[in-house]
Amino acid sequence: MAKKIRVLVAKPGLDGHDRGARVIARGLRDAGMEVVYTGLHQTPEQIVEAAIQEDVDVVGLSVLSGAQMTIFPRICELLKENGAEDIMVIGGGTVPADDVKELKNGGWAKEIFTPGTTLETIVEWINSNVNTD
């Protein structure tokens, strides 16, 4: 039997809009993944530490504060410093199209899901892009 995919759903920064993060966390759990939710107001350091400690395959960052262009690069940098760059970073939230392009091209996010994406789409994407071996 395949190993279950482990996901860390994280809310970086000061913003408290956690509706999306919670819905996604529950949806991924219902789809059979092992989900850890960090809770609110996490620093990049706290998120990376949790990701390593929980031995996750993927980190999903929920950002609705406009701070995406500082948060994603910082998390990737910290993962690298800790030798954990094999953990995949994805995200979701109110991220304008230009920023999505820049984050993906810069290698700071593998995928960004914007409002209106169904849970099925996200589950399917993770299942076909995350390797648990």
Binding site: L14, D15, G16, H17, R22, S65, G66, P96
Partner: protein, 553 residues
């Protein structure tokens, strides 16, 4: 029962008989809150309603029909658009522009570091300064924000909660500098910490010291700032977090009653502070459900304030509210159609008797709104006020079998929640048990599942999708240089001030916070000595501790 009702019942049964043979569309008939609705409402649905007792006249107890006797014929609702960005200087220019166009009320949006009590040069503020609102670190910034704006001539609404006492003191101190006594200041601070624990999540301290700060504000305002609205009890954020309409109604009013009880427990006379409590509701997309919600809110508040809390002043019975259209009903897909959604939502707020209204801009799902989008949003209100006729008649949907039945239903649902909250030991205990948070998370998840499975249609999202859509609307961007400049500014304030005075003021606050005195005079002295918001919060954090939420989902 009268012959008349018997006849109606008989007729209704006949109709039901023939109607049951008809084939209906395959569709789930329920409100956006998943509340089932009948296909027809008749006098039978409101048989027990008593006009005098349940509705009355506008401006009269229980205020179901509105808080003013002449409603919008006296004064239209205030069109109050929320704004604030970057630094105090940029926002000041925007406010002066708005005032020059005849606007008399300002509504200040703060950035996340200000909302969470961090100065702009704090590591936790990194990347967030000036992004979702204006950055205010000290009295110096507040002086700039209102430079050239006489505070005795404008009313200012400030969306600030956990650090509300500090920002309010900065406003009072800015008035002092302008020679405006605090008795003349008018405006609102949101100051609703309970909904922060429940939904919006911008908390700092644990609930008990937070409630103390709020009752300190009530007591200080009663004596020194009598025209100030000391709290805006907010359902908006509860709804945005995913609640149903009935939950928004029930949880918000429960918060309101908790503030009333806290004020009374602090020894204040209910009629001294209750008239300064105001409300803030969401206008979601389900037109009739929203109208019923506002009408029920007024009736429940009036009844409880009079009967349960013994308020004698009609001003304590009246539920006055601001409304904002639902950000969560908007879509990133085909953003222009958000203009239409917002227009329907705004109309429900007006037909529900709102005192002021903010209409969202079509692009808010994507980023801060552009000027063009803000203008369309304001024009939507002006069309509503001057073209549609919606403001001509007071409470025009009263007497509708459906609207009255739904209003009763909303009240009933709210009463059930009040009982549940009482059983759990009150609002603070229920927060501690994660009751509200779990109810809202469940409702949000159910809603999302319904959209994903197309049980609920969202135009442009899961139906009528524009496959080749390229979103082509302008996005407002904030220059990252703003953060560096603001960080330099707060550092300059710290080096230029009389640090002995600041240190003394912070020490006195620390001592007072450990006791039971009213903290507002101490905070005011800190502010006057140019202590920064972050420093004042840090002193209180050391005494009060920090709130931690259990991360449930």
């Amino acid at each position: 029962m009268s012959d008349k009702m018997d006849n109606i019942r008989k007729n209704w049964e006949e109709w039901l008989e023939s109607r049951s043979k008809m084939t209906d569309r395959d569709f789930k008939y329920e409100t956006v809150s998943a509340l089932p609705v009948n296909d027809l409402y008749t006098p039978l649905d409101i048989e027990k309603m008593d006009y005098q007792k349940d509705l009355g006249m506008p401006g009269q107890y229980p205020y179901t029909r509105g808080v003013q006797g002449n409603m919008y014929r006296g004064r239209l609702w205030t069109m109050r658009q929320f704004a604030g960005f970057a630094t105090a200087k940029e926002s000041n220019e925007r406010y002066k522009y708005l005032l020059s166009k005849g606007q008399t009320g300002l509504s200040v949006a703060f950035d996340m570091p200000t909302i969470m009590g961090y100065d702009s040069d704090h590591p936790r503020a990194f990347g967030e300064v000036g992004r979702v609102g204006v950055a205010i670190d000290s009295l110096a910034d507040m002086e700039t924000l209102f430079g050239g704006i006489p505070l005795d001539k404008v009313s200012t609404s400030m969306t600030i909660n956990a650090p509300a006492s500090i920002l309010w003191c900065m406003y009072i101190a800015t008035g002092e500098k302008q020679g405006v006594p605090s008795e003349k200041l008018t405006g609102t601070i949101q100051n609703d910490i309970l909904k922060e624990y429940i939904a919006q999540k911008s908390w700092i301290f644990p609930p008990h010291p937070s409630m103390r700060l709020i009752t300190d504000i009530f007591a200080y305002a009663t004596k020194h700032v009598p025209k100030w609205n000391t709290v805006s009890i907010s359902g908006y954020h509860i709804r945005e977090a995913g609640s149903t309409a009935a939950q928004e109604l029930a949880f918000t009013l429960a918060d309101g009653f908790a503030y009333v009880e806290a004020g009374m427990a602090a020894g204040l006379d209910v009629d001294q502070f209750a008239p300064r409590l105001s409300f803030f509701f969401n206008a979601h997309i389900d037109f009739f459900e929203e109208i019923a919600k506002y009408r029920a809110a007024r009736r429940i508040w009036a009844r409880r304030m009079k009967e349960k809390y013994g308020a004698r002043s009609p001003k304590s019975w009246m539920l006055r509210f601001h409304t904002q259209t639902a950000g969560c009903s908007l879509t990133a897909q085909q953003p222009e159609i958000n203009i239409v959604r917002t227009a329907y939502e705004a109309m429900s707020a007006v037909l529900g008797g709102t005192q002021s209204l903010h209409t969202n801009s079509m692009d808010e799902v994507l980023a801060l709104p552009t000027e063009k989008a803000v203008q369309i949003a304001l024009r939507t209100q002006q069309i509503l006020a001057f073209e549609t006729g919606a403001a001509n008649v007071i409470d025009p949907l009263a007497g509708s079998y459906f609207v009255e039945a739904l209003t009763n239903k909303m009240e009933e649902e709210a009463e059930k929640y009040f009982e549940e909250i009482d059983r759990r030991g009150g609002v603070l205990a229920a927060i501690d048990q994660n009751f509200f948070q779990q109810e809202i998370a469940d409702a949000a998840y159910q809603f999302q599942r319904a959209v994903d499975r197309k049980k609920r249609i969202m135009v442009g999202v899961n139906e009528f999708i524009d496959e080749d859509e390229q979103i082509e609307i302008d996005i407002l961007k904030i220059d990252p240089q703003i953060e560096r400049d603001q960080a330099a500014r707060v550092q300059k304030v710290r080096s230029d001030r009389d640090n002995l005075r600041t240190g003394d003021a912070l020490d006195s606050l620390r001592k007072a916070a450990s006791g039971t005195e009213n903290l507002i005079p101490y905070i005011l002295e800190c502010v006057r000595s140019y202590a920064t918001e972050g420093e004042i919060i840090q002193v209180m954090r050391e005494v009060f501790g920090e709130f931690k939420e259990k991360p449930i989902f």
